[in-house]
Symmetry: C2
């Protein structure tokens, strides 16, 4: 008999029929002898409907009141789910953020969980009832309602699982797991059986679609085994676990790509010591989040050189003014932008113990005639910036080049 | 500078435009130098929408979960009202039942307020903010969400006003006050300027349309001056106050009628001592709420008589089986029902000191050829059961017969 946390997202509780499905699944787990704690999101579309009302009422709504409004989405979904369980003959009780309680800081609309009291859950489970916890919400020290930001229900689920020392945390979603790469552009992509927390974090661009990054950080911190799976089937999904549980024979676990990357090139900057340092110091002081930095060699300007870096496209639009002002300040002649770039990355714990992975990656790209514009590496990830038009070609070449199309020991478990 | 509670019902916050109106009114009161506490209901239609979801999910939904769902209606309305105030340049904070806190018993869907903590309201008002309290909701000793039943926001408003010792409690609604009788059937009906709590309670059938009965009881208990008025105009409405403040020169304050009355006649009951007592004892034991009882004289059955009583039509339908079973038990030959009856009542504190009011009422009805089927009296109310077809005729005859068409000293204040 295990203590199982099951989290259902907005699409999984999107209609009353689907809520009945959630109830069926929870009751099946209960019937198998386990104690069950559900975490539910708002019915899909509901949060947007509520926030629209708020924005129609006030152009710049107070974030405190936004949270009061948004939290009702999960409140209704939790109670409806409890009712669905009751309608199928089971026993259930909804529990809200202020009832558990889910203690957070006071950063409305993006609060962080500080602590969760498990008592009310234990009490509910001891009574033989399924506890249905409203995800996404908490209370601050003053009793104000807070929300955890978009996708926060994943974080609620993992935090609850950690607080009650659950045996596992199942995240039910509309995909059936984490894939070795995006199946939409790489037909040989396979579902990953087991993946380490660290890999999942680095695969953000793949993983974020199925699991909120903060929830992975939290799962890693508390060692909560997370099982990402489909709410529409019974097939095993992807387990996100400690690295020692992933069987490290796999060098590369997945290939990710990020289209939200843009390149900014500051032209003809004086090639003097300290200028580049000043530039990036100032960018950092203005909170412009720089990703990759490219060392250009001076090429004929004499005492001038170009300085290139990348940042998220969304950030580029927001900070364009800052960048151009700084370019003038350090004596550059202008800024050139390129949004037609993409960052492809390979991720894998096995890189830590395998040499030659980077050169193999560069070779695979070169073989396809793809020019690498910039490179960054971490212990378990290598990223290359390339022209956006090569995205699919690069992903497929890397995926199959590292043998990800073949079943691995990680699938077996 | 006064401390003013203003309550707005579902129609008053039924659209975002109307919520802006509520904000305008609250800010005008604030600008006049008063501290303002708002109590809001759910946007009209919202509670029904939410309860429909619940009933579609579970045929016999748990009342605990119903309250969790229903309470979100007021939660959203309170936050939207706070945002509307902010959008007009004011400061406001929404406060929910569990934040105040509004302590209730655990009778879900019809909870009773035990105590309200005023601290959070005082703190909000001290900060110069308008407190917007979600009506209709509270928390029980375990932190479960409770609701006060339909119309409970009136009760919330009066209870909050009592808890914070507000100078007045304004109830904004879609009518502009309490009338001497139903203006729809009596064109000479006038708006009452001041009415005593006791009169308001007895005028239930008139008053219930504008003010929940429990809220009047509470206002009477704590001496909260209540001002019932229209949210769509600035005209003074009706003040509901202590009897010594109503100027008792008026004998009859209003004429009410109740169409939800039905007559049940148990036929040929043995005319022995104790039989009638047993019958009503048993009805009471089964919680059948009997209103009037009619003493028939035996008329030719010899040792048998008919026993007639009235009860609410809705109760008649619910308890018909019980009534017929009891009729058999006491030896009656059957039950005859009459739903074509109405109860007309005159209400007024002045009756306590004026003789001859009852005989004047009977005379006014007799003059119109209306037969009185049953009579009940209390210290400040006399009711007659008549055939339903005479409703309008009787109400007009009583209204003008007691001079209610003329302005009185109660209008002056």
């Amino acid at each position: 008999m295990a203590l199982v946390v099951q989290k259902f997202g907005g699409t999984s509780v999107g209609t009353l029929d689907r809520i009945q499905n959630v109830a069926r699944r929870a009751l099946a787990t209960r019937a198998a002898g386990h104690d069950v704690v559900l975490i539910v999101s708002a019915m899909s579309g509901e949060t947007n409907r509520l926030l629209k009302l708020a924005h129609e009422t006030c152009q710049i709504p107070s974030e405190r009141e936004l949270d009061v409004i948004a939290a009702t989405g999960e409140q209704v979904a939790a109670a409806l789910t409890a009712l669905a369980i009751q309608s199928q003959g089971g026993e259930a009780r909804s529990l809200l953020g202020h009832q558990l309680r889910v203690h957070t800081d006071s950063a409305f609309t993006k609060a962080r969980i500080v602590r969760i009291d498990g008592d009310r859950i234990f009490e509910t489970v001891r009574e033989g009832k399924i506890a249905v916890v409203a995800g996404f919400q908490g209370v601050d020290p003053r009793g104000n309602i807070t929300t955890l930001g978009r996708g926060g229900s994943d974080t609620s689920a993992v935090a609850v699982a950690a607080a009650i020392h659950a045996d596992e945390c199942e995240i039910y979603t509309d995909v059936d797991g984490v894939y070795t790469t995006d199946p939409n552009i790489c037909p040989s992509a396979r579902k990953i059986g087991r993946i380490a927390y660290e890999e999942m974090l680095e695969l953000a661009s793949l993983g974020a679609k199925v699991l909120q990054i903060r929830s992975v950080e939290l799962a890693m911190k508390y060692g909560v085994p997370v099982h990402v799976r489909s709410s529409f089937s019974d097939v095993t999904g992807t387990w996100v676990v400690k690295d020692e549980e992933t069987l490290e024979d796999v060098v590369v676990a997945g290939v990710a790509y990020d289209k939200n990357e843009a390149k900014a090139q500051i032209l003809e900057v004086p090639d003097r010591p300290g200028v580049v340092a000043e530039l990036f110091g100032q960018l950092s002081a203005r909170n412009v989040p720089v990703d990759m930095i490219i060392q250009n060699t001076a090429y004929g300007y004499g005492d001038r050189t170009d300085v290139t870096f990348t940042l998220a496209k969304t950030d580029l639009h927001r900070y364009r003014g800052d960048i151009e002002e700084l370019a003038r300040k350090v004596g550059g002649s202008g800024v050139r932008y390129d949004e037609d770039v993409v960052k492809v990355s390979i991720v894998g714990l096995g890189m830590r113990s395998h040499a030659g992975v980077a050169s193999k990656m560069f070779g695979l790209l070169a073989k396809e005639g793809i020019n690498i514009q910039a490179i960054t590496t971490s212990e378990i990830k290598i990223s290359c910036l390339i022209a956006a038009k090569y995205t699919e070609l690069a992903v497929r070449a890397l995926h199959d080049g590292f043998g990800l199309q073949h079943a691995s020991t990680r699938d077996a478990s």
